[in-house]
Subunit: 162 residues, 2 copies
DNA sequence: CGCTTGCTTGGAGCGCGCTCGAAGGTCCTA
DNA sequence: TAGGACCTTCGAGCGCGCTCCAAGCAAGCG
């Protein structure tokens, strides 16, 4: 964890070095680097988020700085899309937006925050595991009740709360 | 699905027929039937819900009619506790309160709604399965990133959005 | 040129699921 | 009989995560 000029990670990436290294996730149909300057509505269509939400994410600090066209319109890169992908995943875990913002800050602060990022993700992982367990638990209850209704009966023993 | 006078299920249950039949869930330390007249704060302590929330549940129609003492104070039964247990589980699945209210209505309407209840629970079940899949998916992403931070490196190939 | 379409901003509004407050009645113990 | 804990109702308020609106600028087309 030596401190380095930072920023390196979010921005940059020398064009074409992007696909496949160290676990870059497979993605739908991004444009090749160099033409990856999506408008906000393209990104909205792509991610399923509304343009409103995309701007809001930016305002609250959940996004890295987004490039602009010469007239000031947002131009999202493939990298930004990757980030939104991660954000989407984290959102599914039920992680509060505030925590994601925190993570985004850590990323902006550079390599010196690796430890803290690790902690944050590890904690999230634990939550996800717990959630999965809860859900499986619930599934069991659900299956039991569904079973009851399926053979619409168990006529004696009305003591079950349906 | 012949229509029957209804109500039978939520209220009643001939005392002592309650435990173990047709999948009654194991529970913590309920009082024997006959003394199961809990105050709202007992139920709050028991379920982890606030008394405010319990009253609110009642107002919105999520609870069956709750017994009252001669002076009008709520007295919850073991059966009510069971129902709250189910509600808690459904809540964990992310089911909207409105849907739970719908389910509660169906229960109040009696046996003639078995089919609809089945559908509702089956749909919920499908949602839960989907959620579990999503979470496992997210877990994979998380593990990948955690792995990256764990061996704090993969120094070439900076193309990953952290 | 005017028109449409799509983008910009800041700020207000909304739906959900609670959460709390005020004002008053009841229960329990001493 | 007094005091305090706990209960009642109704309605307002809150935090989260968006969602929408108004007013205005820029580009492209007939």
């Amino acid at each position: 964890m030596q401190s380095t000029p930072a920023t390196t990670e979010e921005r940059a990436a020398p064009a074409a070095a992007r696909v496949g290294g160290c676990g870059a996730p497979p993605r739908r149909h991004p444009r090749p680097d160099g033409q990856d300057r999506y408008t906000i509505s393209e990104v909205a269509a792509f991610t399923g988020l509304s343009a409103h939400t995309l701007r809001w994410y930016e305002r609250i600090g959940l996004m890295p700085h987004i490039d602009r066209s010469h007239t000031g319109q947002r131009r999202y890169s493939n990298r930004d899309l990757d980030w939104l992908d991660l954000v989407g995943k984290l959102r599914l875990t039920g992680m509060p937006v505030a925590d994601m913002v925190r993570y985004a800050e850590l990323v902006r602060e550079g390599e010196s925050t690796y430890g803290e990022r690790y902690e944050l993700l590890a904690a999230t992982r634990r939550n996800v595991l717990a959630r999965i367990t809860e859900l499986q638990d619930t599934l069991a209850v659900l299956d039991q009740k569904i079973g009851f209704y399926a053979d619409a009966g168990c006529p004696r023993e009305a003591g079950n709360t349906r």
